[in-house]
Amino acid sequence: MSKAERTPDQKKGAVMKKVLMQITVNGDGYEVAIKPNHTLADLLRDDLNLTGTNIGCGTGDCGACTVLLNGEAVNSCLVLALDAAGSEVVTIEGIAKDGKLDPVQKAFIELGAIQCGFCSPGMIMTAKDFLKKNPKPTKEEATEAISGNLCRCTGYVKIVQAIMEAYKYA
């Protein structure tokens, strides 16, 4: 969902010029002309057609837009696209290897951690970041790990379980 380009406070007729930037997403290099007030989430979805990353709240409160920026989980709705110039981004589209699902994806699917699927990419990317440091978490640790991700369908039970058991699907 693209936000309005001009606020009432900005002068009428003053249109923001696009700026050229380079970015690597899921291992592929891109050159994109982007307006300075667009976020990384906008860039991924609108300019690169990588719509796996979802925008829920757009203000960093729901985690649906979580991607890995230089290896770290961030809310892509809070990162200005130009600020990610020169960076490496990994999205949900980038974690399957050679057509095979990532173990976290497999765990989510097989344990029933996905219902409507809107929160799932963000949950999985958060889990990927978390499991790097703690591959066999306790229930409390897995629960805390997703405290920046909201789900309205599942009640979190299966999501937490999938994160705890993802290592079994490697």
Binding site: T7, G60, T66, V74, D83, T126, G148
Partner: protein
Amino acid sequence: MKEASALLRKLGDGALVYAGGTDIIPRTKFKKLAPAHLINIKKIPGLKGIKLNKASLTIGTLTRFNDIIFSDIINKHLPILAEVAKGMASHQVRNLATIGGNICNAAPSADSAPILIALGSKVRIYTPKGNREVPLEKFFRCACQVELARGEILTHIIVPLPAKGTGLAYRKHEIRQALEIAITGVAVALDIKRGVCKDARVVVGACAPTPLRCKAAEAHLVGTKLGPEDLEKAARSAAEEIVPISDMRASAEYRREMTAVNLKRAVEDAKGRAGA
């Protein structure tokens, strides 16, 4: 730094310093801010990282809250700061949000300020005429405003290392356990020798336009053995000293009650950690 400062002065009110963006972006989306220019300071060298000095830590303004949480220096010498950071926002936000940004955004409810003030921290500021240092306690002008002239940039936070026998605690009263803004946040620093409180700093957030030092409450603790009556007196005192508002999160009366409750809890926490 010179360039950033000059740009800020030249562009005036329409320009904001941009670091993590975790306050500027949401506030802009909510139409609370409409910056014409953002000055990205993230590539300026020397503003990141945590340095251990003999009696203090120097924390660069661009240090992110996850950098603080995972820092060996912090976990060894000032673990309370990691504890406070863990209660802020979310993991994803903490990978972006900077301590300098949190301080300069100066939300009355910000979590980093109370404990940093209780520790006696100072901030170092770049000015075109040279650096200056200000006690953090004096750095907050009013809600969402710090004592920075146009063109000045916060560069470092200097935190004195607590002496042996100091107990530190922060109790954040909140409705949910993550991505939550404090209803009241009580930071306590106690110097305890042989069971007697020699010095106390009590700083409350979210109950005044700026973080508030509750000196009358402190006076009720100093010289005592921090028994239940002492805690009760200090708690009642803090509840009177703060100037909370009623807003969507809580009424002023609730904030007074919860400040009293959390002051007692924070003092008990700090007592238990003083170990002198």
